[in-house]
Amino acid sequence: MEGRMLVAAGSLTIVSIFLIFGALLIHPFGVPNAYKMDQYIIDHTQNESGANNGVTAVVFDYRGFDTLGEATVLFTAVAGVILVFRRVKKE
């Protein structure tokens, strides 16, 4: 058990050091690197999709396929829960 604690503490420390470095080295908070994608959406959303809400436009138009996937995930989870809670014939 002692060894497990030691390994866990050591590896968690290394992981956290790396993640903290990642958090520090990514762009400064509030000044994201705008290449093209997000700026394009902000500029063109109203013309292209007619939505006033940029997030809605992305969710239902530009990345609508992800939303289909999201609905499928929900459906999968519901089917899974029903499957798990069904009546099972015991042998």
């Binding site: 790396f18 993640l19 470095f21 990642g22 080295l25 990514i26 762009h27 994201p32 690197n33 705008a34 290449y35 093209k36 994608m37 997000d38 394009y40 959406i41 138009d61 530009y62 990345r63 609508g64 396929f65 992800d66 996937g69 999201e70 499928t72 995930v73 459906f75 999968t76 989870a77 089917a79 899974g80 829960v81 029903i82 499957l83 798990v84 069904r86 009546r87 099972v88 014939k89 015991k90 042998e91």
Partner: protein, 528 residues
């Protein structure tokens, strides 16, 4: 315009949409009766198979097929990619073919295997959803979309692993797999977020074109590490494999075979990340993935065979065998990566790097067929005898002749005995790995010999031996199960007899796809 052309153009979307539609309709069709529903599902998967092979014929002629959701290709040909798109190259279609073969075999097998069970509508729904998720994972060209399909696959497979809820261990294995796969997927999402934060893109090709040796920094390294760790865990590479034997062993046999495909879809993710997403930076010394992959492959192989040696549960033993087989793929592809990423080595030894990759990729489909067949045989034995412990089995070859023959074919194939397909791919791996370092080849051959010994143990203790009174009047497995096993067995023999044909038509485009990432990236700017 020809109808086939239209189908071909739309096929990437249709391959995902057909099983998805089938999944939504299954609970309704299920009301019409047992046979109607099963025929419906087989038709759905047959249509999907037709579409996959249609798309394959196009991709194998040298094209990269793209499909943009909610737009035409021209709308993304500017400097950025806004919409989600599917990008199908040789490797994707190779994995899609494996998926469709496995799921078709599983569905045909389930016809008789699941006859007595309750909750079949939900079972088939989830099976189709799992297939959908796997197709999405291998066909998509968008990282976030990859994450969504990863979740669909893992949620569906978790529910299916827990199918026999009256068995405590099945539920426990499902819970463990759920924790593992959720955390793995979350780390995938975390590294996607890092990449998004740095490059403001989600498209794999776009990101790959922006990750260059100039821009390569700590963030890229971090997301490479996280993606690699999470996807290798989901692919069941040692030492993060512990969930795999439990999940494979406790699930119904028809699910185990699709789970093989699901882990291989994660393996596809690893290859896609290493070769395409980080394809531009593969040669810089900070990214020395090759040896890591080789070492992990060897560890996986050895752990698989050592643990399989002491197993007495039929399906768990085969699961450990499958683990050992996973090691060969990693070994082959890792060898290729080691050589390709080393600029000093690459000129002289490029050809054997390609041979190693060919062996690794060819082994993916061989493993899917061999291990799938063995799982189906294990399921058939369980179906006939209601016994999963090898200690209590014996002498069933007298009553189950066909099953025995199928097991023999699977045994020879999985341990790489000459006339079968496993030999061709393992020969490729041995010969090319030997050039990198002879010790690697020796360990690989040793593992293969041990695998043969293990499978012979199963064959002896379950199928041979004197007649046991309890199994006096067990019957041969039902027809549908025999058909499913027969399909896989005949494919194994076909692949074994004509390896040159298979390598040239199926494997070569896949290898070309991962060793030439530029063609995957360049189509964005109108290139090849």
């Amino acid at each position: 315009m020809n109808i086939l052309d239209i189908l071909l153009q739309q096929s990437p979307a249709l391959i995902v949409a057909t099983p998805l539609l089938g999944a939504f309709l299954t609970p309704l069709i299920g009301k019409l009766g047992y046979n109607v529903r099963n025929i419906f599902i087989i038709i759905i998967l047959a249509v999907t198979a037709f579409l996959v092979f249609l798309l394959a014929s196009d991709v194998f002629s040298g094209n990269i097929h793209t499909y943009v959701f909610g737009g035409t290709t021209s709308t993304v040909l500017s400097n950025t990619v806004i919409r989600i798109l599917f990008e199908v190259d040789g490797l994707s279609i190779f994995m899609a073919i494996i998926t469709v073969i496995l799921s078709l075999a599983a569905v045909i097998y389930s016809w008789a295997f699941m006859r007595e069970e309750t909750g079949q509508d939900k079972y088939y729904t989830l099976l189709l959803l799992m297939t959908t998720g796997m197709f999405g994972m291998v066909l998509t060209g968008d990282l976030f979309n990859f994450f969504v399909f990863l979740e669909i696959t893992s949620i569906a497979s978790c529910a299916l692993i827990a199918f026999w809820t009256h068995k405590a261990k099945a539920v426990e294995a499902a819970f463990n797999y759920m924790v593992i796969s959720t955390i793995g997927a979350l780390f995938v999402l975390l590294s996607i977020a890092f990449l998004y934060g740095k490059y403001d893109a989600l498209n794999i090709a776009k990101l790959a074109s922006r990750i260059t040796p100039v821009s390569f920094s700590f963030i890229d390294k971090l997301s490479l590490i996280l993606l690699l760790a999470a996807l290798t865990m989901k692919a069941g590479i040692a030492p993060m494999h512990m969930w795999l034997p439990d999940a494979y062993g406790r699930a119904p046999a028809s699910i185990s075979i699709i789970l093989v495909g699901a882990t291989q879809a994660s393996l596809y993710g690893v290859f896609r990340i290493c070769f395409t997403l980080y394809g531009n930076v593969i040669q810089i010394p900070e990214v020395s993935l090759g040896w890591i992959m080789v070492i992990l492959g060897l560890i996986t192989m050895l752990i698989g065979v050592f643990m399989a040696m002491i197993q007495i549960d039929f399906k768990k033993l085969i699961a450990y065998g499958a683990l050992a087989e996973l090691g060969y793929m990693f070994l082959g592809v890792g060898t290729g990566l080691t050589i390709l990423s080393n600029p000093q080595l690459s000129l002289a030894s490029n050809s054997f790097a390609l041979q190693a990759m060919k062996g690794g990729i060819f082994h993916i489909i061989n493993d899917a067929l061999d291990v799938g067949l063995l799982f189906l045989v294990a399921g058939a034995v369980y179906y006939a005898t209601k016994e999963s412990s090898l200690n209590n089995l014996g002498g069933i070859a007298r009553n189950m002749k066909y099953t025995t023959v199928f097991f023999l074919i699977g045994l020879l194939a999985v341990s790489g005995i000459p006339p079968m397909n496993g030999f061709a791919s393992k020969l490729l791996i041995y010969e090319s790995v030997y050039q990198l370092n002879p010790i690697l080849a020796i360990i690989a051959i040793l593992a293969s010999i041990m695998l043969l010994a293990i499978m012979v143990k199963v064959f002896y203790s379950a199928f041979l031996g004197p007649k046991i009174d309890r199994f006096q009047d067990i019957r041969e497995a039902p027809k549908s199960m025999l058909i499913a096993m027969g399909i896989l067995a005949s494919l194994i023999i076909f692949f074994g007899l004509f390896p040159d044909l298979i390598v040239n038509t199926l494997v070569e485009p896949a290898v070309k796809a991962i060793t030439h990432p530029t063609s995957y990236i360049l189509w964005l700017t109108g290139g090849v």
